[in-house]
């Protein structure tokens, strides 16, 4: 460091050795975008194969590798790192802290990821190919019957878990210790609150995932039988352990989305967030409930009826706090003075489409109905509505919202709106028809289907391609905005509130070296 400790170092070492939350945040976001394009290209292979009945492009064994890797890359490579990136950039700026609490660990938790995903991607070139047992990797398909690459997959999952745990420890430490004077917990911005809760979820469940893959490792290489009935184990145990991680995991991906939307709506409605404290309590209750509903992913494994009923009722309960959130958002918009810049469009689309995903979630929660929905395209439609139209849309929402603060330039609004509308049309064309084919009886994760599903599948594929290629518009918007464009004011949006808007645009390399005073 030495003499020049106010600006970034030059060249590659700036990125390799940086401990600056803004640099690390940017790296997370770039990495996430790269993974999004990779996972998206897998999705396009899937949708190309499913364009028509019959096997055209790929063999079933490769198709299974595509569905598996699409899920893994999108969940662990695209959505989660995008949130950590946004947290890195924005949490210190929103609470008036100069940086994250544990900057060196921050560097490390990022740099683990490229190695984890390089290793995961290289499994494509191994004998037997990449993991092909679905992103949920149910044993014994993922143990006794797995390709040899499963060991590398296990190692990669361990690395991702370490990265997430370190990231969340850092976020919790930052939020608890580095808030500006006067920023009490109940004055924290919603994005900070939701991430605070998310970080606790991550610390609680990533070790459980690590436990699951370690048991797999032992079953595969060291002769144990955790998941094999022949040796006294139980394949269903795997599912319990996996979903004890997996269900909170879906809230890990969606809680920060609630935060972003709760920041953006008040800004563009020019009206304070409705029901701030009930938003905080709703988030906390969703997080709590997320620990006691895991077996709703397993209604068909043959649980006793008492178990089915418990998980059904608990799952239905989640609709209550989630409803509170949606009603609060709508009341925030009500009698506001709204304008519809790109972040606001993404936020509104989020509310509508996430609510659709939430409502199909209520239907799925009903155990007797789930016997007809489970493992069909209805489920695929449901979780894409909450993860694409939910999590991804709110990531775009946040990125457009804060982009002027990061680059110091306004992005091209027309192009950005084009990006929004093309994506909006694309995802709905892709995912809405999946409700229909699912109800009509099409199982998920199949490379070929019977003729009655042909029309809607073709439509879905067209939607997927529209979605995929529309993301190239975003690349253009982004590059243009980094290069130049209208200068952004410090305030950027006239309705924006909060500490991040008090620093100059672009945000200087070091901010809040003197803590601001919150009234």
């Amino acid at each position: 460091m030495g003499a020049d400790h106010h600006g970034p170092a030059k060249g590659l070492t700036r990125w390799l050795f940086t401990t600056n939350h803004k640099d690390i945040g940017s790296m997370y976001l770039w990495f996430s975008f790269a993974m999004f394009l990779l996972g998206g290209s897998f999705a396009l292979v899937i949708r190309s194969e499913l364009f028509q009945p019959g096997l055209q492009l790929v063999r079933p064994e490769f198709f299974n590798q595509m569905t598996t890797m699409h899920g893994l890359v999108m969940v662990f490579g695209a959505i989660m790192p995008a949130w950590v990136g946004l947290a890195n950039w924005m949490v210190p700026l929103m609470i008036g802290a100069p940086d994250m609490a544990l900057p060196r660990m921050n560097n490390w938790s990022f740099w683990i990821l490229p190695f984890a995903f390089t290793m995961l991607s290289l499994t494509f070139f191994m004998d037997g190919g990449a993991p092909n047992f679905g992103w949920t990797f149910y044993a014994p398909l993922s143990t006794t019957y797995a390709p040899p690459s499963v060991t590398y997959f296990i190692f990669a999952v361990h690395l991702m878990g370490m990265s997430s745990i370190m990231g969340s420890i850092n976020i919790i430490a930052t939020i608890m210790n580095m808030r500006a004077p006067g920023m009490t917990y109940m004055k924290m911005p919603m994005f900070v609150w939701t991430w605070f809760i998310t970080a606790f979820l991550l610390i609680a469940v990533m070790p459980v995932l690590a436990g699951a893959v370690t048991m797999m490792l032992f079953d595969i290489h060291f002769g144990t039988s955790f998941f094999s009935a022949a040796g006294g184990g139980d394949p269903v145990l795997f599912q319990h352990v996996f979903w004890f991680f997996g269900h909170p995991e879906v809230y890990i991906m969606i809680l920060p989305a609630f935060g972003v939307v709760s920041e953006v709506l008040p800004t563009f409605s020019r009206k304070p967030l409705f029901g701030y404290s009930s938003m905080v309590y709703a988030t906390a209750s969703i997080a709590f409930l997320s620990f006691v509903v895991w077996a709703h992913h397993m209604y068909t494994v043959g649980m006793p009826i008492a178990g089915e009923l418990f998980f059904m009722y608990a799952t239905m309960l989640i609709a209550v706090p989630t409803g509170v959130k949606v009603f609060n958002w709508i009341s925030t918009m009500f009698r506001g003075s709204m304008t519809f810049e790109t972040p606001m469009l993404f936020a509104i689309a989020f509310i509508i489409l996430f609510t659709i995903g939430g409502l199909s979630g209520v239907m799925l929660s009903l155990a007797p109905l789930d016997f007809q929905y489970q493992d069909t395209y209805f489920v695929v439609a449901h979780f894409h509505y909450v993860l694409v139209q939910g999590a991804l849309f709110s990531i775009y929402c946040g990125v457009y919202y804060w982009l002027p603060k990061w680059t110091g330039h306004m992005y091209d609004e027309t192009l950005a709106k084009t990006h929004f509308w093309m994506t909006f049309i694309g995802v709905n064309t892709a995912f809405f028809p999946m409700h229909f084919v699912g109800l009509a009886g099409m199982p998920r994760r199949i490379p070929d289907y019977s003729l009655q599903f042909a029309d809607f599948n073709m439509l879905s594929s067209i939607g997927a391609f529209i979605t995929g290629f529309s993301q190239l518009i975003f690349v253009v918007v982004l590059l243009k905005c980094i290069k130049g464009g209208k200068s952004a004011t410090d305030q950027v949006w006239d309705g924006a509130q909060g500490l991040e808007w008090t620093v100059p645009s672009p945000a200087p390399y070091h901010t809040f070296t003197i803590p601001p005073q919150v009234r």
């Binding site: 022949a230 709508i330 009500f334 209520v362 199982p443």
Partner: protein, 384 residues
């Protein structure tokens, strides 16, 4: 001599099968009213309950959506800055918060009550008139009637050429099997679902039955189908390469016809066991072995015997397939623990085991040239 016997048996079989299969097949309509956009009403009382509950909760969701989005769109229209809207400043209302916590809760109770009732019905597997055991294999189903000693495999019948787009696709593309499960109409049938390798899931939408087959465990489900007919479904748990190619077909027969069918299957099982004592010639073994191989082994080891590198070894030129007979019988009969190679000793008859081994040793350029008789396989098994 063997030929003649064989043919006679085939003839008898063909005639009885023609009587049993063809004639009801003409009368048995496809019972599914397939909708392209919605859940099927299905054929049983339980499936009707499920359908009604599905429509009920769907309409509740639609109503909630209309109200919520209605308010939102009104607001988007009326409270926009470009229309001169000035922002209000309210940001709290305890009354509202309480209302929109309690109202959804009450709505949920209205959904939970019928759901609990339907679930209780689905779980009531008592007093079944017939038990059928369903076992999932990579990638076929085995159906057995334990009390009658009848069991058989059911696998995809759609020709490869249709899947590879070399022939036009038939009406029941991917939803057709060689031997459907057969059950009587109007009787409560209990399904005991399990699996032999990985997890599968047996789904018959028209009965609203979906149960995972889990290796080492047995799950229960039931159906009482009033109308004879043909019903179709698929495996719904990812089970490896050919997960998309293991459909489920159930033929529901009037009780009398069902009993005749079951009796003839019993007889066939007895005749099949009689074949054990016979000596096969090389040609006969090769012919039978080819059939067994293509039906049972080709999914993994491929029709040309070349396997899939990294996943399934080639049998063409394989040291085991061309090596000492003992080792070869061993891997087929006992499988190889910890791999996808199952113990086929429990799946195939001695006749089929002997035939497929002979076939492997002498197909695709393998040229060991030795013979194996069903009795040898039986002795091998006894020696174990």
């Amino acid at each position: 001599m063997l030929r003649a016997q064989h043919r006679r048996r085939l003839m008898a079989g063909a005639i009885s099968m023609a009587a049993l299969v063809l004639q009801p097949a003409l009368a048995l309509a496809e019972q599914v009213e397939r909708s392209d956009t919605n859940m099927r009403v299905g054929a049983t009382d339980v499936s009707h309950q499920v359908y009604d509950l599905h429509m009920f909760s769907l309409w509740i969701c639609v109503a909630i959506g209309v109200i919520v989005f209605g308010v939102m769109f009104y607001s988007i229209f009326a409270h926009r800055k470009s229309r001169g809207a000035v922002a209000a400043h309210f940001h709290e209302s305890t009354k509202l918060e309480i209302a929109w916590t309690i109202v959804p809760f009450v709505i949920l109770i209205f959904m939970a009550v019928p759901a609990t009732k339907t679930l209780t019905d689905m779980y009531d597997t008592r007093d079944a008139a017939l038990d059928v055991q369903i076992t999932g294999y990579q990638w076929k189903w085995k159906y057995s009637y334990p009390k009658e000693g009848v069991e058989y495999f059911s696998s995809l019948r759609t020709p490869r050429d249709e899947i590879d787009n070399l022939a036009p696709k038939g009406e029941n593309y991917l939803l057709d099997v060689d031997e459907p499960l057969v059950i009587p109409a109007g009787k409560k049938v209990r399904f005991l679902v399990t699996a032999a390798d990985v997890i599968h899931s047996w789904w018959m939408p028209d009965f609203a039955v979906k149960k995972d087959g889990i290796p080492g465990f047995i799950n229960e489900a039931w159906a009482n189908v009033p109308e004879p007919g043909i019903y179709r479904g698929q495996c719904t748990e990812l089970c490896g390469k050919d997960h998309g190619f293991m459909p489920i077909v159930v033929r529901v027969l009037p009780e009398g016809e069902f009993n005749t069918w079951l009796a003839s299957r019993k007889e066939e099982a007895v005749e099949e066991r009689a074949l054990m004592a016979q000596n096969f010639t090389m040609d006969q073994s090769m012919e039978r072995g080819k059939g067994v191989y293509e039906k049972v082994c080709a999914a993994c080891h491929q029709p040309n015997g070349e396997g899939i590198p990294g996943a399934f070894p080639a049998l063409k030129g394989s040291a085991i397939a061309m090596g000492p007979m003992e080792g070869h019988i061993d891997i087929i009969v006992n499988g190889k623990a910890g791999t996808a190679m199952a113990a086929f000793g429990a799946q195939l008859s001695e006749v089929d085991l002997a035939a497929v081994i002979v076939y492997e040793r002498n197909a695709w350029g393998n040229n060991v040239g030795d013979m194996l008789q069903p009795i040898d396989v039986a002795n091998f098994k006894k020696g174990k």
